[in-house]
């Protein structure tokens, strides 16, 4: 069932969003990566995931909030079908941090899709990034951090709507970055945020 449903939904998302994928100074690669993107719509993760080449997306998991994806049978099914990595936003504790959980889950093969703004942003402006990306980069310096800018998906399906409008959207994937030595948290997060913003201009 999932074998049929997942490619079907991925194709549907592609058709509805009319997404063009641009790889800017970056090539699809099956090395372990963290794709971080701006977040404006529920469809973001699905569209970004389905615009990756097939070989890569089978080992790429979007990170999402458990309180949203475990409410109701449809969401629960979708979460398991797309192999979402669910994080409990309410039970974040020092000894069980979501960063540790992510690192544990991806092992040495999988990649992640994260939205470091921490939630969907209705205005479309890019907010400050949460610190999770920094901690990931610090604990696993070998991961490639790939900035992604998702354009127009918020018009395809804005926050609070359940029916999509088939406008054309665009996914820009930029060149990978890493945590520089001697870079502090704020500097790094600002640089990461800037990398996403820069993709908007090109």
């Amino acid at each position: 069932m999932k074998k049929l449903a997942v490619p079907f939904l991925a194709t549907l998302a592609k058709i509805v969003s009319g997404a063009t994928v641009r790889w800017i100074d970056c090539e699809p690669d099956d090395c372990q990566r963290i794709y971080f993107a701006n977040h404006t719509s529920h469809l973001d993760a699905l569209i970004l995931w389905s615009s990756l080449p097939k070989k890569i997306r089978t080992q790429t998991r979007p990170v999402a909030a458990v309180d949203y994806w475990h409410s109701g049978p449809v969401r629960r099914y979708l979460a398991s079908a797309f192999n979402l990595l669910l994080i409990d936003r309410k039970k974040i504790k020092v000894h069980n941090s979501p960063i540790d959980m992510m690192i544990r889950e991806i092992g040495t093969t999988e990649s992640l899709i994260v939205f470091p703004e921490g939630g969907r942003n209705p205005t479309g402006e890019l907010r400050e990034f949460k610190s999770g990306l920094y901690h990931l980069a610090k604990k696993r310096p070998d991961l490639e951090l790939v900035p992604v800018f998702i354009d127009n998906v918020n018009r395809v399906m804005p926050k609070g709507e359940f029916l999509p409008v088939p406008l054309l959207s665009c996914i820009s994937i930029g060149s990978p970055m890493w945590l520089e030595s001697g870079e502090n948290k704020n500097q790094f997060l600002e640089r990461a945020r800037h990398a996403v913003l820069q993709l908007k201009e090109t």
């Binding site: 009319g18 063009t20 127009n152 018009r155 029916l163 406008l167 054309l168």
Partner: protein
Amino acid sequence: MANLLSQLSSMFEFGTLDSRTIALVFVVLVSLSILLFIGQILKRQPESNFDPAIVRTFNKRVSAWLTIFVILVVTLLFDETFFFTVVLFGLVSFWALREFITMTPTRRGDHRTLFWVFFVFTPMQYVLVGLDYYSLYTVVIPVYGSLFIAGRIAFADDHKRFLERIAKIQFGLLICVYALSHAPALLNLELSTWNPDLIGGAGWEKWDGKPAGLLFFFIVVVQVSDMLHFVWDRLFGNHVIAPTVNATKSWEGLIGAAMCTAVVGILIQLTMRVTPFTWYGSGLMALIISVMASSGSMTMSAIKRDRGVKDYGTLVQGHAGVLDRIDSVCFAAPIFFHVTRFFLEDRVSQAPVIQDVAAFLVSNAPGFTCIY
């Protein structure tokens, strides 16, 4: 000449396309292939006098036209009920509307209205055209749709730039869907043709051609007009019409293209007789089509300049830019449809009482009639 052509082509008669239309298809495909060939030769000559950018545009356009014609001919070929042709135009409308709305800024409050526009009004228009409900498909979008859009946006509780938003969505729906749907609607027309040799009656008889030929004639004339406009602008364009809207479109291009297109229209009718028009009727129709097509391109240029995009194709990279190619078709289609319908729809039954411009022109121009 006409006899030879029709004799040749009668060997290749297919489905909805009669021999005359097949002859036209043949001529168009051969001419486009020659243009494609010329374009390739120009591209390979780095020392030529032509601007490489113009050669590139030329090549791009010729291959786009070739694609359009091949798709249209293949769709029309065996489509007895015109189901696939209507679906084809419906999909083109859908895609054009998608490009239009993507380019036009809308607000969060327009979301549900847009859903209606995309998934209710667009399919409904083409269903009505397919079912040939003339009295409905001419009013559903301009009347019901326009009022609905305004009302639905008001219900969404967002008054910012209200009129502007309504106008944008209404205009997109009108141009991309309503106007374009008149092209496949041509297939529904029951047309008469003027035959001065007819004994008794007022000279009207049922047209023996196929409506697919009329649609094909229309598309060919629009594309010929676009091409001639391009050529005239490049060769003789001195007086630019509106430099801030479109830096290349000139008065010379507009008038020259309209005149030449009229000649092409006359030639097509005289050699292949694909339409129910008289030869001068065909020339006038081509003239109208050309002027409307140029207005369409200008209008779309103005919208694009206002939004600061050059082509709808570059709006989102990798897309073909459907709206760039069909803007002229959109403007010309409803006018061509209504003029044809006004003069030629079902004249046979009303023939004895007819006193209109067409009949007047024909009866007072005996010189014209000796052509047949």
